[in-house]
């Protein structure tokens, strides 16, 4: 832990006390819940709302809940839907306007949340998703003109991370340096211990977190509990489903923009955009204008978009990226390479959702490995095709 704080132990009653305290402090308390056959973000008022005894089995193109033979509350890998859905909801009203005698008048959108109003306390956010939040802070907030709605939801969010104890077959956070235990960026960090007693080893990662812990009346953790918590993390680290070698990945992908592997993956990819929807860092959005039939009122919405659609790169006359090959290349190159140029960090946190939720099971780690195993660098100066110059368009 970078932020060395003495650990304390909470039992189930202590965890309930934490939920109650956060609710009493005015937070909308959210956490993992079981709904529609998956672990997804939901409202949490009691520990019974958490996915007690549920685990998950995730492989490329496959997600199933499974019954565990214990009472673990956080015994699944990653929520099927990331916390992006709460901090950066799929639809946001940017402004609404009315036509007036003198043109129009416009009112800025108030900002909204999908699961109640901020401030949010998020219980059980994984280390991978905590990294995704940090990435969104850079992408959406630390900008010349920030996304003010994201910033408002993010500002007071109280984040309680829980170390991953049972990673899935699609997880690769260890190779991305993002898990399975969070090192920073949280208010409280818990590790679930399923020994004779069901306890949670808790550490504070912020002043707010320290204050909350002090008010919970927890007891200091025993040495054995600290060791047991470390063992949980070590066991998870050894059981990662996958790995990605990110050595010089920016150069690798830039230099291999015409690699035949892009054709290969394009022959499997359905260009459905699932990967972009479930990715906790994909941030691309479009704008939609909704107008009343008479045209006197209008709303301007910001909505999630996907680089896998033909509309995404549309310019008059056609799409820049009309082939699936070019769209997959854009997504993966952005995620793993150009993101580094743009935001100083990879856009991938190794959560594995893009593998799990790909209907044909495309595995981003496998695609990188295939190019790495047989690189075909494009020459710096690609010969420009001898198409005639059409002088009409542009601008």
């Amino acid at each position: 832990m970078t932020d060395v704080e003495s650990a304390v132990a909470l039992d189930l009653a202590g965890l309930q006390a934490l939920v109650d305290l956060l609710a009493a402090e005015g937070y909308t308390v959210l956490g993992p819940t079981v709904r529609a056959g998956a672990v997804v973000p939901g409202r949490v008022t009691t520990v019974d709302d958490l996915p007690r005894g549920w685990g998950d089995t995730q492989e490329p193109g496959s997600y199933r809940l499974r019954r565990r033979d214990d009472e673990a509350l956080f015994g699944y890998a990653a929520d099927a839907i990331s916390w992006k859905s709460v901090l950066f909801p799929s639809r946001e009203l940017m402004w609404s306007g009315t036509r007036t005698a003198d043109g129009f008048s416009i009112t800025a959108g108030e900002g909204s949340g999908g699961l109640g109003d901020p401030p949010y306390a998020i219980l059980g956010i994984r280390a991978c998703d905590l990294h995704a939040v940090a990435i969104h802070d850079r992408v959406l907030q630390e900008r010349a003109l920030p996304d003010v709605h994201y910033a408002a939801r993010r500002k007071d969010a109280f984040l309680v991370t829980v170390s991953c104890s049972d990673p899935s077959g699609t997880c690769f956070c260890v190779s991305m340096g993002t898990g399975p235990r969070a090192e920073s960026g949280f208010d409280l960090a818990l590790t679930e211990l399923l020994g004779d007693e069901h306890t949670f080893l808790a550490r504070a990662g912020s002043e707010r977190g320290r204050t909350v812990l002090d008010r919970l009346g927890s007891r200091p953790a025993a040495d054995g509990e600290v060791v047991a918590a470390d063992e949980v993390v070590e066991r998870s680290t050894r059981r990662m489903g996958r790995t990605m070698d990110t050595t010089d990945i920016r150069t690798l992908l830039y230099d291999n923009a015409d690699h035949p592997r892009w054709d290969d993956v394009a022959s499997r990819c359905l260009s459905c955009g699932n990967c972009t929807m479930v990715c906790p860092t994909c941030f691309c959005t479009s704008a939609e204008d909704h107008t009343s039939l008479a045209g006197d009122t209008a709303e301007h919405w910001r909505v999630w978009d996907s680089c896998f659609t033909s509309d995404f790169s549309y310019l008059h006359g056609g799409s820049v990226r009309s082939s699936t090959k070019s769209r997959y290349r854009q997504w993966m190159t952005h995620k793993l390479a150009s993101w580094i140029d743009q935001f100083g960090t990879s856009g991938c946190v190794g959560c594995g959702r893009c593998l799990t939720w790909c209907p044909v099971g495309i595995d981003i780690t496998e695609e990188v490995a295939a190019i790495r195993a047989d690189p075909r660098p494009t020459a710096e100066q690609t010969p420009i095709e001898q198409t005639p110059i059409e002088q009409g368009g542009g601008g």
Binding site: M94, W95, R99, D102, G103, F104, I106, A108, L140, R143, A144, L145, D147, V148, A151, Y254, D258, F283, C284, T285, S286, A287, D289, T291, S292, T297, H300, R302, D305, C307, F312, S313, Y314, L315, H316, G317, V320, R321, S322, S323, S326, Q330, S338, D341, Q342, T378, E380, Q381, T382, P383, I384, T387, P388, I389, E390, Q391, G392, G393, G394, G395
Partner: protein, 285 residues
């Protein structure tokens, strides 16, 4: 509580809201292109640099990025030259004097015209690409003695597609300034040249190492013009291209306008050839 300093979050939110502008002129340029002159209904005009753009909005229809084609020395007048190629641009082109449109911006990095001071300026335009270059030429003409030779090389599909006829004549009358026009195809009555704009680049006389070239047009045209200019000896770092991608937000948040590592709405739209040459050589990037 004193409120003389705006809350940064409110200021940032307000910066993304379209401001109302009244149409004071709608000049037809060609069969599908008009030039709109707009004045702000409230507050000051938009101070802008040549090559920047705004997100221009037809209320209830939508908003699109449009280059500013006006004079940077006259920020009180927002001038946009718009080609009717879709739903929003159709509504914008149809705006009548007195109508109110929305605009926010200006956004992006412009031409950096002042970098050409003391040297030659070669402006190469294809089609509607002359619109953002008009702002650059007006800036040069306004401080004409500060620059060396000036070439405006302009290619269009046909003579009927030529924009800014009066401007072209005025610019040609400036000292040491050449305006050359070429069209893809022409009726027999066209007295001018027929061919590609690269031919004009080849024929123009300029001091290549001390030249700043500003290029805007279809991407394939810019690749050929860039190759021609560098073959003539203009350093790639002194060849600037205005690039176009789908833009939805204008401030680098929506992710649409990526050209590999660039977010063109904030890193561009104007970038130097040496910064984008590898990217422009890759299909569908």
């Amino acid at each position: 509580m004193p409120v003389d300093v705006a809350d940064p979050a409110t200021a940032a939110a307000d910066a993304l809201l379209p401001r109302p502008f009244r149409v004071v002129a709608n000049r037809r340029e060609t069969s599908d292109t008009v030039t709109l002159e707009l004045e702000p209904l409230d507050g000051d005009g938009l101070a802008f640099a040549a090559g920047q753009f705004t997100m221009l909005q037809a209320f209830g229809v939508g908003e699109v990025p449009i280059s500013i084609s006006g004079d940077p020395a006259r920020p009180g007048l927002l001038v946009h030259t718009i080609r009717d190629v879709g739903g929003v641009t159709r509504a914008l082109c149809a705006a009548e004097v007195g109508d109110v449109l929305g605009a926010r911006g200006p956004y992006g990095r412009g031409w950096g015209v002042s970098d050409a001071r003391g040297g030659d300026v070669v402006v190469v335009a294809g089609g509607i690409g002359l619109a953002p270059l008009r702002a650059a030429v007006l800036e040069v003409v306004r401080a004409r003695s500060g620059f060396g030779r000036v070439h405006v090389l302009y290619g269009a599909r046909t003579e009927d597609d030529l924009l800014f006829g009066d401007d072209l004549e005025e610019w040609a009358a400036e000292p040491d300034t050449e305006v050359a026009v070429i069209v893809d195809r022409a009726a027999t009555s066209w007295p001018g040249r027929v061919g590609l704009v690269t031919e004009l680049v080849r024929a123009a006389a300029f001091d290549a190492p001390r030249t700043l070239a500003l290029v805007c047009g279809p991407e394939v045209m810019m690749r050929f013009v860039g190759a021609e200019l560098t073959a003539r000896g203009v350093p790639a770092s002194q060849v600037r291209l205005s690039l176009e991608r789908n833009m939805r937000c204008g401030v680098g948040l929506c992710g649409h306008c990526q050209l590999r590592e660039y977010l063109l709405c904030v890193d561009g739209p104007v970038l130097s050839l040496d910064a984008v040459r590898p990217q422009l050589g890759i299909r569908e990037l």
